[in-house]
Homo-oligomer: 256 residues x 2
């Protein structure tokens, strides 16, 4: 199953579907509209509609008027006869490294699959105005093939980022950890034609990662970055530290 | 700073602000409208508006027509003169345990604060139709006080869940890990008045956690659950396993 967050009509998902079709049967289930930065939102308070999407007069896939996570949920629960062997989300315009993993709809689609115990890959190309997704499509295919039968635990997805350079310039594939780069958000304050203020989010990614084995540094150095990502958010280090504080005892004695 | 995902007019945030005001100066910056299950969405492609919110003729806080994460970002970047000592998000109607941490707007507000290196707490009451947030307000105040000066690493938030029982029935506070309970999603297929299908998400939380030191089991047993949560999603165990596969070498030799 193929999904994305840029919407079913974006070029990245078409290249991805085409590339994976050389390997297996592919079903496309993707958002009707762009859903970037939607995070792991799901639609509970509104109904979802599913429509068939055609390209060049041929059936391409199902469009869902919801989020990437919605697509994976409804796709697997209702639209597919049996669960897919693999969910691949992308190919996203723009990298999903470091803190962007949190905000990304692309990664959330793959994460939803992981939650449902289905192996999954999220794949992104670093440049927002990328024109050629072919190499990334090839990487997706290679990874899908290579990972079949490999023992990746259920609940873990692979987050893949491909530098937007020519294939010749790619130095290789490197296994990475989530980097620590963050955004220095800037909200531009503007005035509408009626004199009322509004704010628009901009900003730059503050690149703090230098270790080549982190996602952001890897793509900066023209490596394809592959990060295993899971959804256990427990901070075990702090858990163990807090255990020693006796926080439970402190509170249990002062409930009023 | 106080935020939530149920919206600035929900009762939970009012109890929370009131309770924390006994401890420190409080500024409320919260979504104008309900944002449940919005995950860590942020608003990039639309402008945000900020309005002043009044209750009983008194200024209560700032309402932002965006997501919980938006509120924290714009609140800290633009609306506050200096960063807050603490961000508390809630009090949410309904628990945010196990997999719900991923979907929750309440937790995402606290996580956005953590990303910005500001200590933060997310607090939820287990029942969706909860009427009395007072005890949860008290817990928030106790925790805020207790944690001041404690060495919780930047980037880690505390996710707190309070059972919806009387204070007398509460057995204590317990430090927990994120549980493994998940949803068995069901999409109800219905027809609109024009004969077109639509789908509505329902389902039940499959409770698989029995260890009292996991969030879902703790609240089931009438404990207040406190889970340290971070945003490093790297699955280090799989990372180390994959290192041994030599996946980098395999791919680096077969780029075409």
């Amino acid at each position: 199953m193929v999904c994305n967050d840029d919407g079913i009509d974006s070029p990245g998902i078409q290249v991805l579907a085409e590339s994976l079709r050389e390997l297996a049967e592919v079903i496309v289930i993707a958002p009707l509209n762009e859903q970037s930065a939607i995070g792991h939102a799901i639609t509970m308070h509104y109904p979802l509609r599913v429509t068939e999407n055609f390209k060049n007069g041929k059936f391409f896939g199902y469009a869902v008027d919801g989020t990437p996570a919605d697509c994976v949920k409804i796709g697997i629960r209702n639209l597919m006869k049996e669960p897919p062997d693999l969910v691949v989300s992308g190919i996203n315009h723009g990298s999903n490294t470091a803190i962007n993993i949190i905000y990304s709809g692309t990664v959330s689609a793959a994460r939803e699959a992981a939650i449902m115990d289905i192996p999954s890959i999220a794949i992104s190309v670093t440049n927002h105005s990328v024109k050629d997704f072919k190499y990334a499509g090839k990487v997706a295919k290679l990874l899908a093939k290579e990972l079949a039968g490999k023992d990746i635990p259920l609940g873990t997805l692979l987050n893949v980022n491909v530098p937007d350079v020519t294939e010749k310039e790619i130095k290789g594939i490197i296994l990475t950890k989530q980097g620590k780069s963050k955004w220095d958000d800037i909200y531009e304050r503007r005035q509408d034609p009626y004199g009322k203020d509004y704010y628009w989010l901009t900003g730059n990614l503050l690149e703090v990662d230098t270790d080549i084995e982190t996602d952001q540094a890897a793509i900066k150095n023209n490596y394809v970055s592959v990060t295993p990502v899971h959804f256990d958010l427990t901070d075990y280090e702090t858990y163990n530290k807090m255990k020693k504080w006796g926080i439970e005892e402190v509170f249990n004695g002062k409930k009023d």
